[in-house]
Every structure is written in structure tokens, then in C-alpha cells.
């Protein structure tokens, strides 16, 4: 199995050998990015103007956003309660429970209101609310959340399932599973089983398979530069290859743990094709999965071609979010079916 991943990465080795051009070096110096990152962006965006729009947008803070938690409250009631405290919420049309915070009072902060502590809402990026909706679990489903902490998506899946069915949320780090449990309890998600282990170990449970799987894979976070400016220069191309290796391993495990006819949502908070289309292409070409078209979101399509590499045409069904076009964090997701 590891050989398959190693072979796949070796076949796509050109993606991890980037020679930055003079133009890339100049822009990297201007915007404070690593030059290999800019060289890749020159291959991703349609024009230099669009690239500069993207780079500029990375310097502006993201709009704060929350997900109204219908397990604990009614969203209209939440709007009123928050308004009384001086928070003005604006409903996001394309997200069933998503709100942008248009105005905040000097006190209290968004993460310390009574409504937050009572679990009426969760602070969550707009694009990161999309995977749970796209997964669209039913109330009978057994759902696996493979990298669950800190629990925003886990609790959103519970919300969509109205606390019915079961969500198995896996997290291997002790420090992170505490935050996950805290959020699960605060938000009143009562259909969740938390397991502290490496998801690899779930393979050892004979034949148990899930109806739907959410794989929000650990990633470079290249979509969160507004939140963490160090990401402009933190990840080397070798780090990116390591992330890709681990993401390929995870999607392979997800495939094994999924029922025939079941669905996986693969997502990352990264804009890097090496962590996104490359992984989905592996699921299509090596695992025989099928991408599904997703409607209703103001997103761009996945890249079919990038840095002299042609991916399977069906990666175009994947969704991409960018700060300069959608006003969200940089994000990627894809709905895949096991046939």
C-alpha cells in the first residue's frame, strides 16, 4: 500500500521540484512569501493581476463568522439575543446556519458571551462550514470524522443529523481531544463517540464500515494566511510533500473504512493543489472513486491542469474557495463516491 503512495508521489515528483522564476522571486520579496509559493501561484491564477489580488487579500483579516447551533437554539432567537448585546449578524445566503458578524461591541468578545458558553453558536470559518453540508448525512447514518479536533465540523454533522445516528470522531492527540470533547459537550452534540487513537487503528476493527466519512485532512494551512501570517514562509516544498504523503495515506484508509456506495468529503484549509487535486486524483485513478458535482456554493472548480501536470478531468467537480474571490478563508473540498 505504501508502495502505491510512494510510486504515485514519484510519478508526480515534478510538483515538488519548483524552480522559482525571476518574476516569482520579485513578487515573493514584495509580499513576504517564499518564492516557490509564488511560482506555484503563477501556475494557479489566470493572470498576474489576479495573483496580486490574492496576495493582497492575504493581508486583510477575515470577516468573523459563526454557525448557529440549532441543537441548542433557534437562529432567529440567536440573532435577537446577539443584537441585544451589540453584535449585528448577517445571514449568509449560501449557508443554512452561517452568519457573518457585521458589528461587534467592545465587550464581551465573540468567544466569551453567555450564548457561546451555552452552545448557541460556534465560531467557524464560512468555507469550513461547507464540508458537513456537502456530506449531507441522514439520521440513520454512521459517520466517521477522521481528524475531528477541535470539533467544529463534528458538531455540525451532529446538528445536521439532529443528534440521531452516530458520529465517530477520531483524534490522536491528547491535547486536542480535550478541546474536541469540550466543544461536543458545549454544543450539545449527543450522538458522538470520541476515540483517541491514530485512525490507522480503525482498520484493525474487522469489516466495520461507515456510511459517510469526513476527512478534513491535516494540512499546511496555506488557506489561513490571514489568520496566521507565518504561513507565508513556514512551509517548505519538502514539508508540502510530507503533507501530501500523509493525506494520501488518510484517503486510502478512508476508502477502506467506507461502505460501497458511501461518500467521503475530502477537505483542507489549504489552497495548495499538491494537498488537494493531487489527492483527489489519486482517489479517482488509484482507488476508483468518483467525484460528485456539488451545486449551490459560490466556489471555483478544482484545477484540472497545474504545473505541467494533468489531473483526471473529474477533479473539476471539486470546490475551491479563495479570500480574494469568495471573501472566505482559502479552502478546498471534494465529494467522492465509492462505487
Amino acid at each position: 500500500m505504501e508502495n502505491r503512495i510512494a510510486r504515485y508521489l514519484s510519478e508526480n515528483a515534478n510538483l515538488f521540484h519548483i524552480s522559482p522564476s525571476y518574476k516569482a522571486k520579485r513578487l515573493a520579496s514584495k509580499y513576504g512569501f517564499l518564492d516557490y509559493m509564488i511560482e506555484r501561484y503563477l501556475n494557479m491564477f489566470s493572470s498576474k493581476e489576479e495573483l496580486e489580488e490574492y496576495l493582497n487579500s492575504c493581508s486583510f483579516p477575515l470577516k468573523k463568522s459563526i454557525r448557529c447551533n440549532t441543537l441548542r437554539t433557534d437562529c432567529k432567537k440567536l440573532e435577537e439575543m446577539m443584537s441585544e448585546k451589540g453584535f449585528i449578524l448577517e445571514k449568509v445566503k449560501w449557508l443554512q446556519h452561517g452568519y457573518i458578524i457585521k458589528r461587534t461591541p467592545p465587550m464581551p468578545s465573540l468567544g466569551s458571551t453567555l450564548e457561546y458558553l451555552m452552545g448557541y453558536y460556534h465560531i467557524q470559518g464560512l468555507a469550513s462550514m461547507v464540508p458537513a453540508y456537502v456530506l449531507n448525512p441522514s439520521q440513520d447514518d454512521f459517520v466517521l470524522d477522521m481528524a475531528a479536533a477541535p470539533g467544529g465540523k463534528t458538531t455540525q454533522v451532529s446538528q445536521i443529523m439532529q443528534n440521531k445516528g452516530l458520529v465517530v470522531a477520531v483524534e490522536k492527540k491528547r491535547s486536542r481531544i480535550r478541546a474536541l470533547l469540550s466543544n461536543v459537550n458545549r454544543l450539545g452534540a449527543e450522538n458522538v463517540v470520541l476515540v483517541k487513537t491514530d485512525v490507522l487503528n480503525l482498520r484493525r476493527i474487522n469489516k466495520f464500515q461507515f456510511d459517510r466519512i469526513l476527512l478534513d485532512a491535516p494540512c499546511s494551512g496555506e488557506g489561513l494566511i490571514q489568520k496566521d501570517p507565518t504561513r507565508r514562509y513556514k512551509t517548505t516544498i519538502d514539508d508540502l510533500r510530507d503533507f501530501a504523503y500523509s493525506q494520501l495515506s488518510l484517503i486510502e484508509i478512508a476508502y477502506e473504512l467506507l461502505k460501497e456506495g458511501g461518500y467521503i468529503v475530502y477537505s483542507t484549509c489549504s489552497v495548495a493543489p499538491e494537498e488537494n487535486e493531487l489527492i483527489v486524483n489519486f482517489a479517482i485513478e488509484e482507488l476508483g472513486m468518483k467525484t460528485m458535482s456539488v451545486e449551490g456554493y459560490p466556489a471555483s472548480n478544482g484545477y484540472v491542469e497545474y504545473y505541467n501536470t494533468k489531473f483526471n478531468i473529474d477533479v473539476k467537480n471539486c470546490l475551491r474557495f479563495f479570500p480574494h474571490t469568495q471573501g472566505t478563508e482559502g479552502f478546498f473540498l471534494c465529494l467522492l463516491k465509492k462505487e
Binding site: 454512521f142 452516530l166 480535550r178 470533547l181 469540550s182 459537550n185 458545549r186 463517540v193
Partner: protein
């Protein structure tokens, strides 16, 4: 009560007979023992034993129990155990039984030993773990603090300080989610 590394832990489904005496302690403490039988109906309970023990609760009508047991027994057979199942409701050892914050919502619905605080400034004191003082006569030592909409805020002790003045000392409050929850 944090679990400690190196303690051998065990996980199992537990019957009503084992659960009832433990829950009786809590239901008596907060004045809702008459609701206990109804409360435990149609629920499954699971126990995680370690240095401290935890009891979890899952509604029977919400999940395919056969499939859940298949998953859990698969997990246990390979030497793993869940970290949490459904809602954690009590934490206990030989000397004491404590209700969890998540259980507070249920108890606030059922119990009579309740202190309703309408003033949100006082509620903010409670969630910052500060005691408050009230003048109303209170016969309870242990209370559940709720806001005017019956939302659970805290477990607290009430102590008679001077004539007609009672100190309400938060024991565990939802501010924990901010201070420690992560």
C-alpha cells in the same frame, strides 16, 4: 478529575441496576429523585473506569444499537476504548460523585433545587467563578443556577453567611468551557 497516563482503563455497557444508585445521589442532591425512573428509560449507559470513573448516556431511539455495539466491541477487542460516548453525565470515584456540565442541561429541566438568576451581571460573576450574595431565604445546600430562560449556568453551594444573607459559591460553571475547555 483528569485521567492519568499509565492507568489501566476499562470500558463497558452498564445496566440500570448499576446506574440507578449513582444517579440517585445526584438526583437527591438537586431535588429531582422522583424524575429518575423516567429519566433512565430508553437510554443506554456506558462506564469508563480508570483512576476516576465516568458514566456516559446515549438515547436508545437515536442510534442503531446493534451497529453501535458491533463498532464498540470491535474497538474493545483490539485493545482500544472510546474516550467518550454520547453525553458524559457523572464522574465518580470511591468518595464522591459529581455531575458533568453536559448533564446540567438535563438536571435544569428536571430538578427543583434551582436558583434562577435574572441579572446577567451576577451570571457573569458566576461564570468567572466568583461567589454572589443573595437575600432570599434558601433551604438548599446544593443548587443548580439557571438564567431566566432556564438555561443551565452552574452547580453551586449555598451558605448562610449572616442573617438573611446567603453566599452562592459556584462549584462548576459553564465558564469552564472558556477557562479550560480549549
Amino acid at each position: 478529575m483528569p485521567f492519568k497516563e499509565g492507568i489501566k482503563m476499562s470500558f463497558s455497557k452498564v445496566g440500570i441496576d448499576e446506574v440507578k444508585p449513582k444517579l440517585e445521589v445526584i438526583f437527591s442532591r438537586y431535588g429531582c429523585v422522583n424524575k429518575l425512573s423516567t429519566f433512565i428509560t430508553n437510554k443506554s449507559f456506558y462506564e469508563l473506569k480508570g483512576k476516576y470513573n465516568q458514566l456516559f448516556m446515549l438515547a436508545n431511539n437515536s442510534v442503531n444499537n446493534d451497529r453501535l455495539l458491533e463498532f464498540l466491541s470491535g474497538l474493545l477487542s483490539k485493545g482500544f476504548h472510546p474516550y467518550s460516548v454520547g453525553t458524559p453525565i457523572i464522574i465518580y470515584d470511591r468518595s464522591e460523585i459529581l455531575p458533568t456540565l453536559a448533564f446540567g442541561r438535563y438536571l435544569a429541566e428536571m430538578c427543583e433545587n434551582k436558583l434562577v438568576i435574572s441579572d446577567y451581571n451576577l451570571i457573569y460573576k458566576i461564570i468567572y467563578k466568583k461567589p454572589i450574595y443573595i437575600s432570599s431565604a434558601y433551604n438548599y445546600n446544593d443548587v443548580i443556577i439557571v438564567d431566566k430562560m432556564n438555561n443551565f449556568i452552574a452547580y453551586a453551594k449555598v451558605e448562610n453567611r449572616k442573617r438573611g444573607v446567603y453566599e452562592v459559591i459556584p462549584v462548576k460553571d459553564i465558564g469552564w468551557y472558556l477557562r479550560r475547555g480549549g
